[in-house]
Amino acid sequence: MFEIRKRRTAVAAAAIGVSAALALTGCAGGGSEPAATYDPNEKVTLNFAFWGNDVRAGLYDQAFAAFNEEYPNITVNSSFLGFPEFWEKRQTEAAGGGLPDVMQFDYSYLRQYSENGLLLDLDPYLGTTIETDAIADNILGIGVVDGTTTGIATSTNAWGLYTNPKLLEQVGVAGYEGGGSWDDYADWMKQVTTAGSAQGISGGTDWTGRIQNFEIQLRAEGAELFSEDGEPGFDKARLAEFWEQGAEVRDPAITIPQQRLEEIYPLSGFDAAQTASELTWDNFGAGYLGNLGDSFTELGLVAPPVTKEGAKDLYLKPSMLHTISSKTDHPEAAATLVNFLVNSPEVGAIFGTNRGLPASETQLEGADLGGLDAQIRDYEESIQDRLGDAPPVPIVGAGTLEEKFRQIGQELGFGTLTVDEAVDQFFNEMDVVLNQ
């Protein structure tokens, strides 16, 4: 008994020691006073947050080192997480008033954060602290919500069609040329699937599971998925028609069966070298090459099928933006950092296309693009004729709807939903999201 008591005392002492130590470290991390006027030589510390993996973290470290050579007075504390965790943390911080000073930002959250006044109005800094000469107007326009600029796009990407030349060579089918009609694309996939049936290779994936394919069809007809006010640009009949197109492509003689996709999730059929083509954003290429492994060294990148000849169905989307918290104590320093990250040629040289194809011309010139990077740049140039204005900044809840669309696509693939049921489900979900 005595022994136990002694141990307890030791535990209690340790407990007090630990809490005292923690209290001390806590106090040491004190904050700084807001600066009333801007002093370019003032010592400033900025918090910066981004999502990405350790490769990107290394690139950002290099970029901050270059930044500090020019601005030794600004210290950048950076923090990074995976994409879903990044947003979970931001949502809590937004509610608690603790957003980092400068953030790497995603298009789908821009409206929500802007409308809630969480992001700094960047208009006063445009053309002064943040140089805009090298950024095209339609790209600057991407970060405007309700007439206020709250985000600057770092880089752009466009919808494209990736193909796997090595697999195509194996099955002996020529690569898809790009463009053509949706039927041409389906015919081509059927040809690949037939030729590759022995090796278990399919031509592609059922493209009606991705809302972006629906979007480019709507854009070709002059409509949009959602207007600025959140009104859908399509009715039940149009959505049903879209998914009916899928009923034809969902044939295992044309595309990979949903069952096999499920087995390799979160990888896609294209990642796993089971399909020879995939419609997706053009910045996914590096990820595909990484997942495919060393035996695959190149990819094909061509334009998606055309819904209507001459229509401007494609658009440049920001792969990410930079924003500043409206509660930052050092807006001027934060804007300086954003300018450096968006425009500086050094940053372009460091990142290449890690964050997408640089939006600013000065940064693009600094980037030394080779291989796939150059391919993406050439692709975005090649589709100039099909590029229209970007759609309005996504409505609040756009991410939820995109995910719902994908899930319904899966169920259609399994045959557990009919097209009519699927349409009803999606409209119900839309009702909930749009009227919340």
């Binding site: 340790a14 470290t25 806590g26 950076s78 943390k89 990820g287 990484g290």
Partner: protein
Amino acid sequence: MSTIEVDRAAFLEGQIEPQPRRRRPKRKTVNTVIWFVVLLALTAIILYPLVWLVFSTFKPSSEFGQNPGLIPENPTIDNYLKVFDGIAGTPLWRFFGNSLLIAVSAVIGILASSALAAYAFARIKFKGVGVLFAAMIGTLLLPFHVIIIPQYIMFQKLELVDTYVPLILPKFLATEAFFVFLMVQFIRNIPRDMDEAARIDGAGHTRIFFSIILPLIRPALITSAIFAFIWTWNDFLGPLLYVNSPEKYPLPIALRLYNDATSTSDYGATVAVSFLALLPILIFFIVFQRFLVDGVATQGLKG
């Protein structure tokens, strides 16, 4: 192995047993064999994912989509080498150290504070004990998500974000009602005779707590320590919200950093680091599982 042993035991038994009872052991053997086959099959099904994880740590990243099977086609230890290099300049042991610091502090905090609170609830009659006890139980019903934001604002205003204080301090304040309740129930089952005897000998609350109660609730303390350790070790949301600097991340956050939805995900490194993160808790569990069962089993008993 076990089946053979059982067979042999039954065989020996059959020889020794008198004639008329010879048939019974035979049927017993058949039953035992069936049981073992069923149990082994179930074990295999349950353990397969874990075995798959272990084997997969030797697959190169690119093999994950192309070879969903158990055996790696091109076995490699690169995943481990990469993982031991750490993430973005922070070595792997640092993340282990962070997790260990948080978990050990939490265990100490929970044991120290919950035992004291439980003693007060179970043995001391003070004004409002019923209401306070009900309030404490009430916090068990409160989903964590309700208090995330207010709690964040509090720690944010105290400028304690990006320290471990928000993760550890609450544990020292007996906020984990589950453990307090567990210990209260345990103390209530200890006969009061001992307290009373001690009191007659002149012991106060401090003396009774340290000399009588604390030694007697040892099984409850051990159970709590095990649960507290496992829960804190696996906690994801707490550190995600309160820790900003990558070098302060505990393991559950760090192991997500190999996986990025928007660029390349390193699946090989992800499974390797997941497996390593699993080891301490597996060892902890194997070492302490005897106590865990003891702790739970004695709870229903009086005295």
